[in-house]
Symmetry: D2
Subunit: 179 residues, 4 copies
């Protein structure tokens, strides 16, 4: 019976965004996602995504380019649906409910652009106490004073990485949340 | 073998919000939720909530006061956790993932105040093509142009009910969404 | 503010089985499911199913024929996928994970025939402390002694209804279960 | 932009069983689980478990002892709940619904003993087309002829590993399943 001593785990950071970005910003979003993946991997973080295309693939490609570990939490039941830059595919069979797993399995989240699915992940991340860094993504603002985790806005990929690694190091902010 | 002809189903409207609102707005939010429940039931709609306290209970109480049907989609496994104004308790055992069921089971959604869980439901509703009416709740805004369902802001309970019944009548807006 | 006194809730009984039974037994299974739905409704129970065809539709048809309430917990996001005998459709968007909701929302479960999805529901029901009555369905047997809920075998629809109403009245058997 | 060529992925095998086995068989089950984990890792397979104690921990310990990768699909939201032999913790926040992810993320499944949760995983595995090898676990038998995946019984850990690697190599058996 071999004993393993658990070392401090490297942070898991989810990178979320559009699986098929279009329009004038698409190219820039993909470049940013790739740079974020690269810098996260250089910093020793594991990159978690939804495992499909677009921003998810770009972030995974960046991370793999730096030799990082990339986890892909897939909506379907077939691991081969993962993009080729996912090193650990997790086929969930959950459909949209896999969005909860994407953010809960991470210590903190970076949103790069994104549509309604990304907004759902931002909300679920905050609900689970995970802090979110947003780069050209959703602005969300409550009309009431709220404590707990929040969305931090970044101006560029470098700032996004710096911010997300800082909040990830503190782990989830636990909070009572009956909503 | 008896045959049943399916009539046009009455709309299902989810009312979402804080399970335990506090602060100076709490009383007003609960009053609004109760009025919304009442008006929805008067209009023949079924009220769907997360089945617990606060805004969920107030909306259910309002609807029951008008003789309406109230569905409570509970996070836990015990139907007796439902507030006493839920006529159809659905114990899911899903925890936070039940938020997806709350909004998907409805044709449209009204958010009254709310914290991070409510934001997650707004995001999931949009992801599933359900339109959302927000009353003193979250402002969410993309930095990109998006089609599909959106968040409509209401100024008072009456406007919220009018708006949500109008969008509910058109059903979900289907959309490709890879995010 | 109207107050509602919660009366003892009528039992919720899930009827599970094949959505498209084939082979020499198919006709008999559908007849049995319809009779079970009818008898459950006569006894005042609400019938819960997965909302689709085959055994689910037959049980719902039987229950509606006796004026009963029928809940359909659908895998998809479209309530109109429910069979026409579902009075309360719940579109979950969960795919196969909706099987957990079918059994957790019920006080006890009757399995009529069924394939692998039905076996998953039997397992999930037991895991959630719900007792199961099996009619021409799966035999499941542990090689170890286990306490808690179990599968009771019935010989005909009448015995299935008698048994399931008896175990439903006692509610879930709670149990520690780390497996 | 670095390109990664996807090589044939090593098989993912889920090892499922009791999180806290008791009784006269407990010690033997844990030894078997550890041996199965060890042999799977030696064969190059990734071991997937539910990430907690008992059989899950023993299988992970065995696999880590041979330098293997171990994925732990946790029910809760805290990755530190994983046993110390999990190299890739996935905190899902799904509760019992994580059982679906444990089996769907694997190519095939070995059940070692187990209670009702294990039975639910066996059922879900078959539902998702994954073949199951059972070692001193549940006997499940349909009263009808069924095609598709099935439960193969093994007499000892070595046979379990041989069998599960064989069926894993063929991947999921797809099947229409409306049940």
């Amino acid at each position: 019976m071999s004993e393993v001593v658990r070392e401090r785990r490297a942070p898991y950071v989810a990178v979320i965004g559009d699986g098929d970005p279009r329009g004038p910003d698409a190219h820039r979003l993909l470049e940013w996602a790739e740079e974020i993946g690269l810098e996260l991997a250089r910093a020793g973080a594991t990159v978690v995504t939804g495992g499909l295309g677009g921003v998810m693939e770009a972030a995974s490609r960046g991370a793999r380019g730096a030799g990082g570990q990339t986890i892909g939490i897939l909506p379907g039941a077939d691991p081969s649906e993962a993009n080729p830059f996912v090193s650990v595919p997790i086929a969930t069979g959950l459909g949209v409910a896999r969005n909860l797993v994407v953010v809960t399995s991470a210590d903190a989240v970076v949103a790069v652009g994104g549509r309604h699915g990304t907004l759902s992940e931002i909300g679920l991340a905050l609900r689970m106490g995970r802090q979110v860094v947003a780069l050209s993504s959703w602005r969300v603002e409550s009309e009431h004073r709220l404590g707990g985790p929040r969305v931090h806005r970044a101006r560029d990929p470098r700032e996004a990485v710096t911010l997300v690694l800082r909040v990830a190091a503190h782990g989830p902010l636990t909070q009572p949340d009956g909503s």
